[in-house]
């Protein structure tokens, strides 16, 4: 897959990581009392605190890993070594060379076909000769 598409996918993945990490944390956070006099009663909402801490760690690790990958991909971008004008000039040049090479190729093919005819003729005579002799 070409590098630009990979880069675009990596950026989208980063955004997805942002969203999913926030989502995960808010969904699974345990209940917290709003007022010191009103204690929390239900206990089976969300995850226990230490498990949440672990997952927060993992998510942070994921995000930083993705950032590193993004950086590596950016470094590997195919270089912008030429300006667009230079590129267009190269393309025209190459088009001309291609046309010339096609002409030469067709000449060689014609030559080879003629030679092939000659050779098949010679082979046929040899074969006749062989059959006459035997």
């Amino acid at each position: 897959m070409d590098r630009l598409t990979q880069l675009q996918d990596a950026i989208d993945k980063m955004a997805l990581l942002f969203v999913s990490s926030l989502d995960h944390l808010t969904k699974n956070a345990p209940l917290v009392p709003l007022h010191p006099n009103v204690p929390v009663v239900s206990t089976d909402h969300g995850m226990p605190q230490d498990q949440l801490q672990n997952s927060a760690q993992e998510l942070a690790l994921d995000i930083s890993r993705q950032a590193k990958e993004l950086e590596a991909l950016i470094d590997n971008l195919p270089g912008i070594s030429q300006t667009p004008e230079a590129q267009i000039h190269d393309l025209e040049d190459l088009a001309q060379q291609n046309a010339k090479a096609t002409v030469e190729y067709e000449l060689a093919v014609k030559e080879a076909k003629e030679l092939l005819q000659e050779v098949t003729f010679a082979l046929r005579r040899i074969a006749e000769d062989q059959s006459i002799r035997s």
């Binding site: 955004a15 090479a101 050779v119 082979l123 005579r125 006459i132």
Partner: protein
Amino acid sequence: MEDPSTQQQGAAFPAPPYYFQRYTQPNLALLEKAKSDPTNPELTTALDALPFPILALEPPPPIKRGICWMFGRPWPVQDTLATLAEQGIEQLYPKGDIDRVKELKKLSHSAVFNFLDLVHVLSTSPSEFATKVDHIRVIFINMHHILNEYRPHQARETLRLMMNDQLNRKRKETAALRKTCVDLRKQLAGLRALEQDRLVIPAGATASDSNQDVDMAPATPAASKSTAEVEAEANGSAIGGSTSTTTKNAETMSRMMQLCDTIE
């Protein structure tokens, strides 16, 4: 019987657009006359009687500017990438020529920092999240826009590489063909030299035989070779020589067939 509306609903395909009824023979004749001679007064009265402009019978000209609608979506006629300012997004990287690698890295770092800010805001005063989310959105849009601007360049690069490939392949094949031709020519020359040697041996070749040679042989000397060998057999003097020629013939035949295969 069913009335036409229910018939329409039951039909397998939709009806053609209503203006197919305009294409009558008199109307088409009017069109021809209008194209050749637009200022004729009786023509204009006849044209005014029609419920549609006469030029509507011609196919419409192709669209050159602006937007055209296709399959329910608008497509720009000139396919260009809209700049960020046109899309209403603030451009965070400098205008003009930029070093894409550096700018992209800066943007990715600031994306992560902004995320950190967002988490901070959410933990302190959650109702103020909107500005940070907007910042992150702008950063991502900028990054994608830099990449989109890079696409035409990449397309030209790819085209250049492909053309280079094609060129090299053609040149290689031309060289291979030429080499095979040279080899074959050498083989043929060798064969001709061989039968020239054979012609020397039957010294008693009669005039009739040489006439036969002239009649039969177009370009190949193979014909003269066959008569020479028949002569040699009849004489019985060069039988050993002729068997060696047979084996040489078989060899050259197999080699020539190989070379023919490479040409084809």
